[in-house]
Subunit: 393 residues, 4 copies
Amino acid sequence: MERIGVYFIGARGNVATTATVGATAIAQGRMPATGMVTDGPEFKGLPLVGLQDMVFGGADVSSTPLHEKASELGEARILPEKLAHELRAELAALDKQIHTVKGFAFGAVPEGGYLAELTRIEERLARFRSDHNLARVVVVNLCSTEPHFAETADFDTPEALLQALVKAGGGFCTGTLLGALAALRQGCAYVNFTPSQASELPALRKIARESRLPHAGKDGKTGETLLKTVLGPMFLARNLKVMSWVGNNFLGNNDGAVLDAPASKDSKLRQKDAALREMLGGAFVKTDIQYVPSLGDWKTAWDLIHFQGFLGTPMTMTFTWQGCDSALAAPLVLDLVRLTDLAWKRGESGLLAQLAPFFKNPLDGHTHDFHQQMAGLYAWVDTVRAEQARERK
Amino acid sequence: MERIGVYFIGARGNVATTATVGATAIAQGRMPATGMVTDGPEFKGLPLVGLQDMVFGGADVSSTPLHEKASELGEARILPEKLAHELRAELAALDKQIHTVKGFAFGAVPEGGYLAELTRIEERLARFRSDHNLARVVVVNLCSTEPHFAETADFDTPEALLQALVKAGGGFCTGTLLGALAALRQGCAYVNFTPSQASELPALRKIARESRLPHAGKDGKTGETLLKTVLGPMFLARNLKVMSWVGNNFLGNNDGAVLDAPASKDSKLRQKDAALREMLGGAFVKTDIQYVPSLGDWKTAWDLIHFQGFLGTPMTMTFTWQGCDSALAAPLVLDLVRLTDLAWKRGESGLLAQLAPFFKNPLDGHTHDFHQQMAGLYAWVDTVRAEQARERK
Amino acid sequence: MERIGVYFIGARGNVATTATVGATAIAQGRMPATGMVTDGPEFKGLPLVGLQDMVFGGADVSSTPLHEKASELGEARILPEKLAHELRAELAALDKQIHTVKGFAFGAVPEGGYLAELTRIEERLARFRSDHNLARVVVVNLCSTEPHFAETADFDTPEALLQALVKAGGGFCTGTLLGALAALRQGCAYVNFTPSQASELPALRKIARESRLPHAGKDGKTGETLLKTVLGPMFLARNLKVMSWVGNNFLGNNDGAVLDAPASKDSKLRQKDAALREMLGGAFVKTDIQYVPSLGDWKTAWDLIHFQGFLGTPMTMTFTWQGCDSALAAPLVLDLVRLTDLAWKRGESGLLAQLAPFFKNPLDGHTHDFHQQMAGLYAWVDTVRAEQARERK
Amino acid sequence: MERIGVYFIGARGNVATTATVGATAIAQGRMPATGMVTDGPEFKGLPLVGLQDMVFGGADVSSTPLHEKASELGEARILPEKLAHELRAELAALDKQIHTVKGFAFGAVPEGGYLAELTRIEERLARFRSDHNLARVVVVNLCSTEPHFAETADFDTPEALLQALVKAGGGFCTGTLLGALAALRQGCAYVNFTPSQASELPALRKIARESRLPHAGKDGKTGETLLKTVLGPMFLARNLKVMSWVGNNFLGNNDGAVLDAPASKDSKLRQKDAALREMLGGAFVKTDIQYVPSLGDWKTAWDLIHFQGFLGTPMTMTFTWQGCDSALAAPLVLDLVRLTDLAWKRGESGLLAQLAPFFKNPLDGHTHDFHQQMAGLYAWVDTVRAEQARERK
């Protein structure tokens, strides 16, 4: 059986750790695959890579080993404490496949300049593939959100980008961008689970297209935005006029701390609002994120929806969402790896539009409506099945 | 231009009054058609009956005239007080088209027996049509919920039903049932907006089929159940395991008072739960309705959804819905009249499956998923449009 | 140092187990005393019994040993899993001080009749005191709620009650009642933390008075009712007119299952409503409890308060309380033992009115207002302190 | 009977209009005094000024007449539309007692300089008193919140302040400050219902003391902060450890628009947070205000309280408050006038500490605990009553 590499940028973070623990536990039959979309009946029988055939690796700026991190997540009630304990040995072994790296802040320059950093990342990816004899490698970006930067002409073509990387004294490029570039240059598929800018830039799209590599993004749709894209279409379908939709997100994990910096917050909110703004036309839409340390990974969201019904009568809906962010994100990461790999095997490349329901800001997606996005994914599944049926004859 | 009769059983109730006031106000250009599904862009250009071509009539056990009732609704903030004032004369005129009738409680027998009552209803319907020279009449049931009864062999065929009506000393038939029977026997289309049993009974289905009449039902999906059928599919699509879904509805209008009687409550809850139970398999699903007088028509619902994510992590979603029941129901009633009439004009008869998204318990509908139901309605609209295009050539 | 016996009826239930684990952990300095009222600054320096001087014992119908129960509570996140693990040996030792007993349902008769059962309980209490050489014993009732019974003349005097116990063929007495009777007859103080009928009955009050024993009750005020007695006075103080107050409680523990039986539910709701009904005069007050298995010990309450402000303007407040019932109750049980013991040492007997803030239905308490009740408790503390100061001179 | 002047700075704003309409309606017996604290049984028989003996006047930058404003408030459901209609003539007459004035933004200088503006305000106050032959005048500040300024030495004494007013080219003084100064210099009592700086400044306190005038403030405690000061003490009393308390306020009235300007928002939030921060020690306390136009005067607040119980178990409480700000504030304004006037008649001057429960930031108040503050007010009432009793003998 061929083995697929799953390379996490941010491999010792909450989401990557939860995904790695979960994949291991499910592969061993210790746990059901609750929360994994591809475990649903609609996906039965598709030639998706099994969790036992995934090889996990990656890089992180943190040096806390995977098994320690898993224990921390157990204590924080993000995953079962017992499970972290039982898988300690496996996780310690997997931690050896994660490189501790130096990050660089936006604006700063990594050691030796951007190009040297790019080369280092590419070497690590190449070694990961050859060491484990992997058929294909999917790189998933799980880094903290980085500041938004302007899309200048430097990002228009691969050539312009490489020139800029050589010349620039700093200040125009992020770790996320280098990671995406390295992945595509090394023939890996790329999935951007964060709101940072990466494979949507013209230069990177071009490399993916020319190298016949699939990519997908961006910004995993896990909680409050998911609800917005489920409830928003309902108000539209019923012709109820949303006057205001105010979304408030409270969280206390590292992501929350990073988002407290105005630049990153702006980058994040840009995506969170986009869905509703497009859907609801003239409504007053506002989304806020606040850092509340005691909540940890348990994101609490409260949305207030003020709308008009028949003859202008004002009405109100509010919802409270108390979800564990990492436990919501991790299974989707595994789904994205499986679906990206399947598309790749079928010869698909460039942007995978069918993966829109997984993202807050689906690149090239033409709708934010979750149920329409799912209909698109199911239609693709039908195509794959029809193909399978033809081949079998 | 041909005129369409809209005959409300319960014509002086909150929903019928709001629908009548609204249709009048919108037809006069005083108000936008917010909350009417058929006012959405998807329905543009369809040959739907205009609100100005609807003639309103009906029957009610209440003798409070329509214009007084409208003022009451204005004071209760269900519709704009000013509007009730401005339309006073029109409403007083329309009230003349409403018959004050004697109702009969379940178990009781109307004056002269069931058959006499049936005849009286039929005569009123016939006169309404001839008096106003109506092309077609759509009868809409908006009565208070009636107790659920067992579907014996008496309801199997029109013949058996008529025999039973003649013979029975009482106790097996409701006003709603007689109304539906009268409507279909008089060649009217029938829409059941309540949870009471009516056109889904085999005897009535048969009459509709044989008389080539369309009918639809049952129980308008206005608030909490709408949300359930929008949110439930999201949990399924994401493979999140709902452990418990507890729905709590608080309301203070007449409907609430009637539902306080255990038999009617049971009838209502049967429909409200059905959607979720079918969708969520093994989940613990419970729905409750409580009468809280001070809330009046402002139904407040609070739902608690307790679900498991990845690796069994328990999470919670709650929502609060503060909607004005009549203001949510009234525009849907007008939509149902328009869509039923259009289907009728096209030659459709029997159960109109495309109207599923309007009902808590769509008869013969194969899904409770609101977005799937809407997809069904849009598909029907596409068919109608294609037909129109062919005809135009 | 003298040692105080704490005898739990229901010693292997959630609350008693949490209290025992907590007292042990706090006495060992492993945990702070968060949630214990008597740990607050207002109680500093009072001669309250230390947690290390409490000897725990009791009886239960369950035979699951204390250390196993503690592990279960750990997994259910009611107390830290790690703590249950670390205290395993101590808890196993403490479990030896708990008798596994046969209970008897309301209406049934225990083996040998009521009097035989009473004697057995008294013997157990006597042995507990002598075995551990205890200065005083406080019996705390933590049994599941029992059905409400009529207060006939049998409960008027100790003599009448004993006669009835001898003669009655069954059907008039509960385990809770026998427990309270045994406690007082054996010279123990008695605290009723449940809504069942016990020491408020005239016969038992008389025994307590004549034997100079303190008692307190009833029904621990832990969550939703606490909030009602804190928020209700605010609406009164501001002269805002509460129209409706609808309280909804959802829980999934054994208590919830027992409350699903209509008779027990009635007994419980009687107490929960009492506070608000008295306070809010004409308001529509309704309280409901529903059993939702997946919630376990995590009681979720949602209250809807509909009120009128200036010039009749209607407004709304809702709150959601997600509290762990046992973790809220356990520290109060320890507080009640300490405060009852201190009162006893001072020579107080009969009903302890100063303990009103701990109870949903304070016996003889003249107010349900929590802050007024606390003012009463603080006033008592001041008296004790003044006494201490006099003695020290 | 002596008549008392009530002079509103901001007399055509929402709160002042609602108070004026309400006082008129209640005095005429059209409406009960719901929401007025001094209408409660605790205040029965006190020699408080009757609403019929209040003469309303004031100033505003808006020229929309009182009766028009009242109609607007009626349409916005802040007060009964019908009432605005019925009192139209009275309100038009009362509007004549309101001066339309030019305001000046913080940093700007009024026409002719600060001193000229002060003189104009004083002349208006003097004329109001003499025109209506008023025994006493209470000036109430109801202006929009103004930016916070530094308390320099200019505010230390009346002399320093007057000198600064003469010399300063602008940028150190607000309209609110001049209003307070004018009031006290003209022998009026002063109540600051807003968070702006006024009578708490040393120079003004001195004038009040020396002129034997009472004053009170600041920032009316109407909704979310009221709840904080009711619920916060409960968590303290129960020794539950609040980890985070995040308050979110959404409103759409003029106050909301002004608060959208960062400087005013800062001034407001300073008061809102103070109460909880002081009470809850180390907790993470954060309060936010967001402008949501469609909500109008209907402030919606959502607070998230994350706390630890016994053995560290984390729990959550959230509340939603949907109150009409002006309808909550207006009756308190009338209460403050009555209680300030009564204190004045009794010879009290300087800061009225007994009025603490009415304010978010009670000047010189030693507690934020609402029930303790009310106990203080009731104690004062008892003193007044005792005095009355002595006098009567």
